[in-house]
Symmetry: C2
Subunit: 303 residues, 2 copies
């Protein structure tokens, strides 16, 4: 009998939320009214999509507000239950200190409450979706929030709209050269200096994850893929991607033809190169632990 579950799942950023999403409550208007009135209910405040942070402790953690502390007119979304206690997120300004939108994810992941990064990802994607989807894509009318923030309804044409999650493939192309396995890392023009990562791209309508991996590697680097192996996935809340990480077996010599718009430089690196980069001791910089590209590189060098 095949032991399907031998490979252990690697750790990835923005996962591990301690909240129970309790989706059955969302459609129950009476339950949601009770949840908002619960004296243990707490609200996470996002100011321009940045979370307000607790000032009291030494490390960055999310700050949870009581009902009396938040603006009464601000629309809030239901995040779930923390040991039975309701948790919401709301957009508001001037409520306290907050970090920059990207740095705060890493700070939260490295804090004493690493699940905070996942709660932030959940709240940010949902509130950002509401902010940019106030109108019906089908008929142009204004829509209203339903199901505690997990749906928007159009009363004009009766369309139901759901939060959007965009699947993205991110892959480490692997190639054996003279018996030594190499991986492909590249840099986009917008990356910080010396920073290299795995190649990535959005999944398109009508293709599988494996087909998207093959297409992107050929488009961006001119290389051909044989087999694809799924490694891990993570939510990425800028604004709302589902990152799907994979290894791709490269055929051919590994000669590269780069799409200069997407990739300004790419190179085949060894495990020793990657270990040095992950240790901050190499000539190039690897992605930080929060990024699934980091997970892919670490999974490659430790197996």
């Amino acid at each position: 009998m095949t032991d399907w579950f031998v490979p252990s799942a690697p750790t990835v950023g923005f996962t591990g939320s301690p909240l129970d999403r309790a989706d059955a409550l969302r459609k129950d208007d009476a339950a949601m009214i009770m949840a908002r009135a619960d004296r243990t209910a707490r609200w996470l405040v996002l100011d321009d999509l940045r979370p307000v942070i607790d000032d009291g402790s030494g490390s960055d953690t999310l700050r949870w507000f009581s009902r009396d502390d938040i603006p009464t007119d601000a629309p809030s979304v239901f995040l779930g239950l923390a040991d039975g206690s309701p948790r919401f997120a709301v957009a508001a300004t001037g409520m306290g200190r907050h970090g920059d939108p990207r740095g705060i994810g890493a700070a939260l992941a490295a804090s004493a409450s690493p699940g905070d990064a996942a709660i932030f990802a959940h709240a940010r994607s949902l509130l950002d979706w509401h902010a940019r989807h106030r109108f019906c894509a089908n008929c142009g009318s204004q829509t209203t929030v339903a199901k505690a923030g997990y749906e928007r309804l159009c009363s004009a044409c009766d369309a139901h709209h759901f939060p959007r999650t965009d699947p993205v493939v991110i892959m480490l192309a692997l190639l054996r050269v003279d018996g030594v396995e190499h991986a492909l890392v590249g840099r986009q023009p917008r990356f910080p200096r010396r920073f290299f990562s795995a190649l990535a791209g959005f999944v398109e309508p009508g293709e599988s994850l494996e087909e998207a991996v093959r297409r992107e590697l050929f488009e961006e680097a001119g290389i051909t893929t044989a087999r694809v192996r799924y490694i891990a996935s993570q939510p990425w809340p800028f604004p709302s991607s589902l990152m799907v990480g994979a290894f791709a077996e490269t055929t051919g010599t590994g000669e590269l033809t780069l799409d200069d718009d997407e990739i300004e430089e790419a190179r085949w690196v060894t495990k020793a190169d990657v270990r040095a980069a992950l240790d901050g001791a190499g000539p190039w910089l690897a992605p930080p632990p929060l990024a699934i590209a980091h997970t892919l590189l670490r999974a490659w060098v430790t197996n």
Copy 2:
């Protein structure tokens, strides 16, 4: 050195398009004008999202129209290149015979050109997205088609909109009872009589695929998951999902608590049960080969 690529990828429906998506051409307006004027260019016609089918041959295959045969005012989207020859899809009515929207996918997959099902999936998802996203979700203004059908632009608020693909997890929960592995199959109220399949649900903002698998199995069947193993993925063009198929290791006794709105009946079945169902010889009906649930069941019983 780990051999990452040992598991061979199973065959899944709606994959294997023979077209090169040639994405570099999409943003090049001059290249797209030339592609449309190419005398070898062909158009696939979708009538109310159903493909017009070739009448000439015995089995169902897609019918490809020349430029002169299609309405000049109908907006078309670029599908890619077939051996260098441009292929488009266009919405139009009264152009010929077409099948019912769901049955036709299976007919195409079983035809002499199984890649036709993947082309249909690509075209259907893209044209359906345009039909239901003519307005800007950000400001409510009318939008216009850009990049040969892979973007819509809002001139009022400058928003860029991209085709939507919704990730869905579909999973076979596995449980060992007295040393015999069992899998969980269930039926939604809308399923045909005696039809059972793997459980499934949409991935939500802020969760990984593995977290979505755990959440859905707990919500729909009340069971708890330990490890999750990715198996395969497929596009599902009704309207535009990315199905991600996995096995889920069940902990506990396997006692079920069903969400009656989603699952009206579920049962733990053995490999012998599944083999009989796949052969059409059991007391329940398994999903057809086009569905990734079929792929999951077949992968389970053959390994």
